[in-house]
């Protein structure tokens, strides 16, 4: 009798372990199902609408020099292999120019000297990486809004796409923002960091600062800004390198 009970108990135990294992692996399959992730990913719209509604034009917090990170961590591409970039780098970017085109009335080619001659904004802000770390640094450059005023956006323009000189994992890096973020006073094209021209690892000669969003939106090595009506048809169509290559949110305010 006790033998029977024992074997029955074993049977139940084995069944429970088996069912548990099935349940776990079933759950794990569920957590990776594209349909489920697409559904949950729709919360991104909720995040964007809520955050935008609450934030309005609010400025990102700015800090004092004493609050800056002793060493600012660089992430993503730390160097660029592109020969054209290397040639510009060797010349100190003296012959380099930023292209602004797409849905604009006046396409521009702006040399670094022209960008430096525009009214400058300097801000000490916290860079928040999607991975969880933060670093505080000082950024200087013209407001993106000033460039857009020069180029005159056409009415159908809705997004600005930032094309970069670097390849990450063999694919071109790019990012995009909408007009709300583009005309925000703290959205600048920084050519200086902590009072020095940008180092290569931080995106020389020019990087986007879009202070109310996570680090991957802050495109480095920017060579071209393209105004578009829709993000469809640009690379993977989701508006950015990480958005195309891994379900990262296009709205990166949280």
């Amino acid at each position: 009798m006790s033998k029977l009970i024992l074997s029955r108990r074993r049977l139940i135990q084995a069944g429970a372990v088996g069912a548990g294992g099935l349940l776990l692996s079933g759950c794990d399959r569920l957590t990776r199902k594209p349909e489920v992730l697409d559904f949950l990913g729709q919360a991104e719209d909720l995040h964007r609408v809520t955050q935008r509604g609450l934030a309005g034009d609010a400025l990102a917090r700015e800090f004092s020099e004493s609050q800056m990170s002793p060493t600012f961590r660089a992430n993503g591409s730390l160097a660029v292999a592109d020969p054209v970039y290397r040639a510009h780098f060797a010349q100190g970017f003296s012959q380099w120019a930023l292209r602004v085109d797409g849905l604009v009335a006046h396409p521009l080619m702006l040399p670094l000297s022209a960008l430096k001659a525009m009214p400058q904004r300097t801000q000490i802000t916290r860079h928040d990486c999607v991975e969880g770390w933060s670093a505080i640094g000082k950024w200087t450059g013209p407001r993106l809004a000033a460039l857009l005023d020069l180029a005159r956006l056409r009415p159908e323009a809705r997004y600005l796409v930032f094309h970069c000189a670097d390849l990450y994992g063999g694919r071109p890096y790019y990012e995009s923002i909408d007009l709300v973020e583009a005309f925000h006073p703290q959205t600048i094209l920084a050519w200086a960091m902590n009072g020095q021209p940008l180092e290569e690892q931080h995106g020389a000669p020019l990087r986007l600062r879009v202070e109310r969003q996570l680090g991957y939106k802050h495109a480095k090595f920017v060579t071209r800004i393209e105004a578009v009506a829709s993000l469809a048809g640009i690379y993977g169509g989701k508006g950015g390198y990480w958005e195309d290559n891994g379900r990262y949110a296009w709205y990166a305010g949280i």
């Binding site: 776990l24 794990d28 957590t31 990776r32 992730l37 949950l40 990913g41 919360a43 991104e44 909720l46 995040h47 955050q51 609450l54 934030a55 309005g56 609010a58 400025l59 990102a60 917090r61 800090f63 609050q67 990170s69 002793p70 060493t71 600012f72 961590r73 916290r126 928040d128 990486c129 999607v130 991975e131 969880g132 770390w133 933060s134 670093a135 505080i136 202070e211 109310r212 969003q213 996570l214 990480w242 891994g246 379900r247 990262y248 949110a249 305010g253 949280i254």
Partner: protein
Amino acid sequence: MSDIAPPAEPPPAQEAHPQGGDLVKRHRLSTRLWHWTNAVTLLIMLMSGLMIFNAHARLYWGEYGANFDTPWLKIGSARIGTYEYGYLQVAGHRTETTGLLGYWQDPDGTPHRRAFPYWATIPSAYSLADARTWHLAFAWVLSLGLTAYLIWSLVNRHIQRDIHITRREWRLRHVWHEVKDHARLRLPTGAAALRYNTLQKIAYAIVLFGLLPLMILTGLALSPSTDAWAPLVTEVFGGRQTARSIHFLCAFALVGFFIVHIAMVLLAGPFNELRSMVTGWYRLPKEPER
């Protein structure tokens, strides 16, 4: 937790003096709904949160913190000769955690150098983006659920009636008495099992008014957009990295609550406890015979 039990409405006439063995209504529908929604939500939040932590397995104090700065907590892996091991480092002290944290093998035997192992994370294989999709979607369920539950529990007086800790209950002697009863596993019986005891009230109050709101606030403090429109949320904690540390500590305090919670359910009779949280009906434990 186990030996709980406020009646939902004033008990019907025949149950005016309930005693051990009686089947009584114990949990309101709002409590039951919120309980099970939270059970699922918190599990998802925890497991997807552990995956997000895996992306940067260090914690700092202050506003900034990255690889060049000194973390107060770090999970990592290292190698001595050919021996590779995982470790947890807190305030400079390393403990080896091979197989559990920092260095572990998946079911196929492949070693991984990530903080939390596959069985503890959503999804099981490394994906910061998918973990964030789960975490941020269910953050809405958690925060809207908590808000609705707190408002409703004020309206139906659940908080005032069942969770409010009276002055008598705060007395040290009373609390000590309950601690001793719990330590001896002498759980309330009969009509006494209808009410939350002081330790339960304290535990629930800490979770409801402390840990859960702190989880939500420290989570919001991590958002660069929230930091723009509500800088105070980050500032009160002393910076984004401190908020991230508190987020992590509160998550583990909730895990601690969960373990005690499950232990008490098992000790108090899992069938009766589960029934009361599913159907609302609870059989009062019989008074000991004298």
